[in-house]
C-alpha cells in the first residue's frame, strides 16, 4: 500500500498526532505517579517514608511487608538478649528495632475473606445472571422492560441507605459479620450488572444456532447448555471480572456489616497502624498487594471495559 492510499482525508496529520501524543503521554505518566509512589513507599523504611524532601532514592527495605504480615511487640534489651538467634528476614528486621514477632497479623485472613467473598458472589451472580439474561434475551416475558429497569434501579440506591435495614435484617438472621451474608449482599448488587451485560452478549449470539439444535432434537435446556453457554464464554468471563472487581473493591457495606470474622481487605487496610501513628510502609505494602490483581484484570479486560462500565449501554 502506498502512503496516499493508507491515509484518507480524515486521517489525522502527523503533526496533530505528535501534538496529541505530547499531551496524552504526560497525562498518563502524571496520573500514574500516585500509584508509583505507593509502590515505592511499600519498600521504604518508616523514616524514609516520611522524609522531607520526599526520597526518590532510598535503601529498599522489606519492613513494610514484615509489619503487614506479622504482629510485633516491643521488648526490653535484656529480654531480647536472652532470645535465640532471629529466625528469618522479618524476625531479624524486628530485632533491629527491639521488637519481637508475636504471631501473624490479620492481613492474610482479611485478604482471604476478600478472595472468598469476591469469588463466591461472582459465581452466584453469574449463575443468576446468565439464566435471567438468557430468558430476557430469548423469551417473551410479560413486563420485560419494567423488570429489566427494576433490576437496574436497584443500583441507584446509596449503599448506606440500604445498609440500615440490611444491618437490622442480618442481625435478626444471624448473618452479621458472616461471609455468607456478604456473598448474598454482593450477589444482589452484582446481579443487576450481570443480567444487563450478559443479556447484551447473548443478544449477539444468532438464534439460528439454538434453533438448529432444537430441530436436531435438543431440549431447550440442552440447547442452552451445549450451544448458548459455550458461545457466550467471552461475555461470561468479562462479566465475571467486572463482578470480581466490584466485590473486591467494595467498602461501604463491608465496613458497616463486618467487623471481624468476615471483614474484607478494604476496611482493614486503612486501620493498619504501627507504633505512633499510621505505619505508611505497611499500609503501602497492603495497598500494593491489594491492587495488583486489579491491574492484571484491567489489562485482561481492555476490550470489554467500555461495555462493563456502562452496563452494556455502549458496546463499541
Amino acid at each position: 500500500m502506498t502512503p496516499q492510499h493508507a491515509h484518507s482525508v480524515v486521517e489525522p496529520s502527523r503533526r496533530s498526532k505528535r501534538i496529541a501524543a505530547g499531551f496524552v503521554i504526560p497525562y498518563a505518566v502524571v496520573s500514574m505517579l500516585p500509584l508509583i509512589w505507593i509502590l515505592l513507599t511499600a519498600f521504604k523504611s518508616p523514616p524514609d517514608s516520611i522524609a522531607y524532601p520526599p526520597k526518590l532514592v532510598f535503601k529498599p527495605s522489606l519492613i513494610g511487608f514484615c509489619n503487614l504480615f506479622h504482629a510485633q511487640s516491643r521488648q526490653t534489651a535484656d529480654y531480647l538478649a536472652a532470645m535465640p538467634a532471629p529466625d528469618g528476614v522479618c524476625d531479624a528486621i524486628a530485632r533491629e528495632r527491639s521488637m519481637v514477632i508475636v504471631g501473624p497479623s490479620n492481613f492474610v485472613p482479611r485478604f482471604l475473606n476478600s478472595v472468598m467473598i469476591a469469588f463466591g458472589s461472582t459465581l452466584l451472580s453469574l449463575v443468576l445472571g446468565v439464566t435471567a439474561a438468557y430468558a430476557f434475551s430469548r423469551f417473551r416475558v410479560r413486563g420485560k422492560d419494567d423488570l429489566l429497569f427494576f433490576i437496574l434501579s436497584t443500583r441507584m440506591m446509596p449503599p448506606i441507605a440500604v445498609a440500615i435495614p440490611i444491618y437490622l435484617m442480618y442481625r435478626e438472621l444471624g448473618l452479621s459479620d458472616t461471609r455468607l451474608g456478604m456473598v448474598l449482599l454482593y450477589t444482589s448488587v452484582n446481579a443487576s450488572l450481570a443480567v444487563w451485560l450478559l443479556k447484551g452478549f447473548i443478544d449477539e449470539i444468532p438464534r439460528e444456532y439454538e434453533e438448529a439444535a432444537l430441530v436436531d432434537g435438543y431440549t431447550r435446556l440442552q440447547a442452552f447448555r451445549k450451544v448458548v453457554l459455550p458461545q457466550a464464554t467471552t461475555g461470561i468471563v468479562a462479566t465475571a471480572i467486572f463482578c470480581l472487581i466490584f466485590a473486591w473493591n467494595e467498602y461501604a457495606f463491608a465496613v458497616l456489616l463486618t467487623s471481624g470474622r468476615a471483614q474484607t481487605a478494604p476496611p482493614f487496610i486503612p486501620i493498619i497502624i504501627g507504633e505512633g501513628g499510621q505505619d505508611w510502609p505497611a499500609v503501602a505494602a497492603g495497598t500494593t498487594l491489594f491492587l495488583l490483581p486489579i491491574l492484571a484484570f484491567t489489562v485482561a479486560l481492555r476490550r470489554h471495559l467500555l461495555r462493563g462500565i456502562t452496563f452494556g449501554a455502549v458496546r463499541k
Binding site: 496520573s31 500516585p34 520526599p54 430476557f136 423488570l147 473493591n249 478494604p266 486503612p270 491492587l291 484491567t298
Partner: protein, 304 residues
C-alpha cells in the same frame, strides 16, 4: 444425542416454565436483599426506632422525621456540599475526559498502550484510593504538596489539603477527577469512534475548517455519549461515600460532609434510625426522580 425428533412441547420443560425458572431466582434475591430492605426503610422512616435500643417501644410518628430532615440546616449543608462536589467533578471530568478522548482518537503510535495505562485509576478500590491519598496529601512529606511546591513555589508545609476548610472540598474533587476522568474519556472515545468517517470526508469536500468540524460534527455527535457518562457519574457521585469517608471523613468540620456521610453519621453514629431512614428515602427519591428526567432528555438528544 437423540435421533428421533419428538415434538418439542412433550420433551423437556416448556419455554414459559424455563423463562419463569430462569428469571425468578434473580428477582427473588433482589426482592429479599434490595426491595424488602427498601420497604423496611420506608416503614422505619415513619417511626422513632433506634437500632441501638432494639427493645425500646416503637411508635408511629407520622411525617415528623421528614419535616425534621427537611428543616435541618445540617442536611441542607450536606446537600450543598454534594452539589458543589457534583458540579465540579462532572465539569472537570467532562472537559478533561473529552479532551483526552479527542487526543487519543488522533491515533498516534502506541495510543492503545497509553490508553490502558490511563484507565487504571478507575478500576481501583475507592476506599483504598481515599486512604492512600491521605498520605499523598500530608503537608510537607506528601507527594502532592511537594509537587505543588515544585510547580508553583508555594512552600509545601504552608498548606494542608485535607485540614483546611477551604481546600478540603477541592481535595476530594481532585481525587475523584484523578480517578474517574478515564471513565468519561473511555465513553467519549466510543462516541468519537461511532462517527462514520464519510461525514468528515463530506466536510472536507465542503472545506469546513477543523475547528468548525469539531463544533458542528464531533461535539453534537458525541453528545449522547457524554450525557450517558454524566448520568453514570452523577448517580455514583451522588451516592459517594467510600473515598470521601477515608480521605476526609466529612471534615474538617462539615466542609466535605456529603449526603452519604451525613446519612452514615445519623444512622450509625447517632443511631437515629427513623430520622436517617427518612433522609435515605428522600435521597433515593431525588436520585431516582432526577435520573428519570435525565434519561428522558438523553433519549431526546439521541433521537435528534
Amino acid at each position: 444425542m437423540r435421533v428421533t425428533a419428538a415434538p418439542r412441547r412433550v420433551r423437556g420443560l416448556s419455554d414459559r416454565a424455563i423463562a419463569w425458572l430462569f428469571i425468578s431466582p434473580t428477582i427473588a434475591l433482589l426482592l429479599a436483599i434490595n426491595i424488602f430492605p427498601l420497604l423496611w426503610t420506608v416503614w422505619l422512616s415513619f417511626t422513632n426506632y433506634r437500632a441501638n435500643r432494639p427493645s425500646a417501644p416503637v411508635h408511629n410518628v407520622g411525617f415528623d422525621n421528614y419535616t425534621a430532615v427537611l428543616s435541618d440546616p445540617d442536611v441542607w449543608g450536606s446537600m450543598q456540599a454534594t452539589a458543589h462536589f457534583l458540579f465540579w467533578t462532572l465539569s472537570l471530568q467532562v472537559i478533561l475526559g473529552f479532551t483526552l478522548a479527542y487526543l487519543i482518537d488522533r491515533r498516534f503510535r502506541g495510543h492503545g498502550l497509553w490508553t490502558t495505562i490511563i484507565l487504571i485509576p478507575m478500576m481501583l478500590s475507592p476506599a483504598v484510593v481515599g486512604n492512600f491519598w491521605t498520605f499523598l496529601y500530608q503537608p510537607q512529606i506528601g507527594l502532592w504538596n511537594y509537587g505543588a511546591e515544585f510547580v508553583s513555589g508555594v512552600p509545601a508545609s504552608s498548606f494542608t489539603m485535607i485540614g483546611s476548610v477551604k481546600l478540603a472540598p477541592w481535595a476530594i474533587i481532585i481525587v475523584d477527577t484523578w480517578m474517574w476522568t478515564p471513565y468519561v474519556a473511555l465513553i467519549c472515545l466510543a462516541g468519537l469512534r461511532s462517527i462514520p468517517s464519510y461525514i468528515y470526508e463530506a466536510a472536507e469536500v465542503d472545506r469546513a475548517s477543523k475547528w468548525r468540524q469539531l463544533w458542528t460534527i464531533t461535539i453534537p455527535m458525541t453528545m449522547p455519549f457524554v450525557m450517558l457518562a454524566v448520568l453514570f457519574r452523577a448517580i455514583e457521585n451522588f451516592k459517594m461515600y467510600d473515598m470521601v469517608n477515608l480521605l476526609t471523613n466529612g471534615g474538617p468540620g462539615s466542609a466535605t460532609e456529603l449526603a452519604s456521610i451525613t446519612l452514615k453519621r445519623e444512622a450509625f453514629e447517632k443511631w437515629r434510625t427513623g430520622y436517617a431512614s427518612a433522609f435515605a428515602v428522600i435521597l433515593f427519591v431525588t436520585v431516582f426522580g432526577l435520573a428519570n428526567i435525565y434519561v428522558k432528555a438523553l433519549n431526546r438528544v439521541k433521537t435528534r
